[in-house]
Amino acid sequence: VGTATTSIEDALAGDQRAFMELLEPELPGAYRLAVGMLRDQPEAEDAVQEAVLKAWKSFGRFRRTSELRPWLFTIVANECRRRRRSRWWSVIRVWRSEDEGQASVSTLDPATADLRRALNRLPHDQRLVLILRYYLDLSFEEVAQTLGVSTKAAMSRTYRALERLRMTPEVLDDE
């Protein structure tokens, strides 16, 4: 704890090395989040680097009592959203061509390929909540912190996203 506190104080004072020491344990998770959101590993690498830069620029606003991981993941998620918006057409093209039979999809069983297509069509926020919960294994409390919402709202969003993927028992139980 003492080391982390020292690193935070050093980073707040402008020490880049201390800042990177703080962030480094979270970078694999950040990268996994970016891959899940962008479906493009080089783009994900670039997004994480950009997010680290933005995190550094805004680190003065980081509260000492906050948790670093949700804070960083929020920045990474925003960066992914920005990139998906900025390259909307190319994203659609990539997904469509992939859907149409590139190797990575052709090796999937039909149900999994269908699920991947449906996942790709989800809006950013719904895709994000599923990535955080099921691809990064975050608790709902951590998902809520990353999204800046209540735990209840995070659970509700997760449910709604799963509902759109037809992965909840509602339709089955109800019909």
Partner: protein, 480 residues
């Protein structure tokens, strides 16, 4: 399907990702380059600003908190509930998504935000008007932290009339009954309803939503389902109504999607969403699609019986999945609903479908300005609409100022109002009161980034969106 299965299937669909070990050093290098181009603001400077803001907030809390205490005169009409033991695991508070959510301005100066927050100075100051009686059984720290009672819901009709809602647990269930609190004087006094029995089994979760069309007639929409893991599906849908301003409630209908005739073979999932009443008799419910056609559920007998109403499919919305939002009605005859889903033709965002005959027929509108992605649309009335879109061809490295458009013919044509706005991303809410006055709530300023403070930034305009002023909103969230 349990969460383990969900996780397994989603991971298979997403695929694996191996962390490139050189990414850490790349990020450090990028950091050095970025730092060379643009210095981070010193932490001490920011902390000084934060300190100043906090000091101002403390002063405001003292000033407005004391005023609040003087104004409020809560009038519970029933004795407080007994302190009987409740089922283990029931939450004794709830938390709203964010501060200053779902702002509804009822005049240029007066308005409400979720959680009983009320402003009388155009949004600069907000006070919590929630009734003290609704806080029974909540832990003191939760009250101090501005948290809300379990099952909290609210509805704001105009500048003076509002309703709040909470649930109560017993030894048998977390959602035994609910109470509605009503005010007709802007939150200075509240009346409490008779108990509303919810009949929700132990182990189930629920959401409750209130709505009124005037001062006496309102509805309570309760959706509940078993907590199969950390999330829960809604399988029990119950509609209650009141005709005396919320003091007494009766069950109107209990619904299931099966009973409503959703096509069993549909490729698109259908669900029962939120309900909106255009009049005391005409109600609409958001849902999904049947086949590739968007649909709503409609009732013409006050929510007792429901039927499927198919809508025309906008050109911008492709095949399944697609979703219909909650319609917004103006004077019962004119309504609009957003349809979203798989994008067939490009980055337009939600498509709009309208009716001018009370919902008997619906027409898909031409796309909103096709120059960018539609982030949000605000409907002032049947003809005056506002929309925020991304700027055309927006790309990384360019400024992120979004563009504001206005329509005066109900979305048939759009005029660019302003493109050099301090509107950042995401614009959480855009709300115009009239053709001149409006506000925007956002989590990030296009120029200065995230706001310092509670997490949202409020901007107001009084010249039809041409110029915007940032409001440092001071919120007194403390309950009495």
């Amino acid at each position: 399907m349990n969460e383990a299965t969900v996780r397994e299937q989603l991971r298979a669909a997403i695929g694996d990702s191996t962390y490139p070990p050189e990414l850490s050093s790349k990020a450090a290098t990028r950091l050095g380059q970025g730092q060379g181009q643009e210095q981070r603001q010193p932490a001490g400077w920011v902390l000084a600003v934060v300190t100043a803001v906090l000091a101002a907030a403390i002063v405001a809390t003292i000033v407005f908190g004391s005023n609040l205490m003087k104004q409020r005169a809560t009038v519970p009409v029933q004795p407080p509930p007994s302190q009987a033991p409740v089922l283990a695991g029931c939450q004794n508070f709830s938390q709203l998504n964010q501060q200053l959510a779902s702002i509804k301005m009822t005049s240029v100066t007066t308005g409400w935000a979720e959680g009983g927050l009320r402003t009388t100075d155009g949004g600069a100051h907000w006070s919590n008007t929630s009734p003290k009686a609704s806080l029974e059984g909540m832990p003191a720290p939760a009250v101090q932290n501005g948290l809300y009672p379990p099952g909290f819901g609210d509805f704001y009709l105009d500048g003076s009339r509002a309703w709040e809602l909470r649930t109560y647990a017993t030894a048998g269930t977390c959602y035994d009954h609910a109470s509605v609190f009503a005010t007709t004087d802007g939150g200075r006094s509240w009346q409490r309803s008779a108990d509303i029995q919810l009949e929700i089994p132990a182990g189930w979760g629920a959401t409750l939503k209130l709505q009124f069309v005037d001062g006496t007639r309102g509805w309570l929409w309760v959706q509940a389902g078993p907590r199969t893991s950390d999330f829960f599906p809604f399988i029990q849908h119950t509609l209650y109504s009141t005709s005396d301003g919320g003091l007494h409630w009766n069950v109107v209908s209990r619904l299931t999607s099966a009973a409503l005739g959703f096509p069993a073979s549909s490729d698109c999932p259908s669900r029962l969403g939120d309900v909106v009443f255009a009049s005391p008799s005409a109600a609409w419910m958001e849902t999904g699609c049947t086949g590739a056609e968007p649909m709503l559920l409609m009732s013409s007998d006050g929510g007792t019986t429901w039927s499927i109403k198919r809508l025309p499919k906008p050109a911008a919305v492709g095949a399944c999945p697609c979703w219909t939002g909650l319609p917004k009605f103006f004077a019962q005859s004119h309504g609009v609903v957003e349809v979203s889903g798989n994008l067939a033709t490009g980055p337009q965002g939600p498509a709009l479908v309208v009716t001018s005959d009370g919902g008997r027929s619906w027409q898909a509108l031409p796309p909103t300005p096709s120059t960018g992605y539609t982030l949000t649309v605000d409907f002032v009335d049947a003809s005056s609409w506002w929309a925020v879109l991304t700027e055309p061809g927006w790309n990384k490295g360019q400024p992120t100022h979004d563009w504001l458009y206005k329509s005066i013919d109900g979305g048939h044509t759009w005029t660019l109002v302003q493109k050099n706005l301090p509107l950042g991303f995401p614009v959480i809410q855009l709300a115009f009161f009239d053709s001149e006055h409006g506000l925007a709530v956002q989590s990030q300023n296009a120029s200065s980034g995230p706001p310092i403070g509670p997490g949202v930034e409020l901007l107001t305009t009084s010249d039809g969106g041409n110029t915007w002023t940032t409001v440092i909103a001071q919120v007194n969230p403390g309950n009495p």
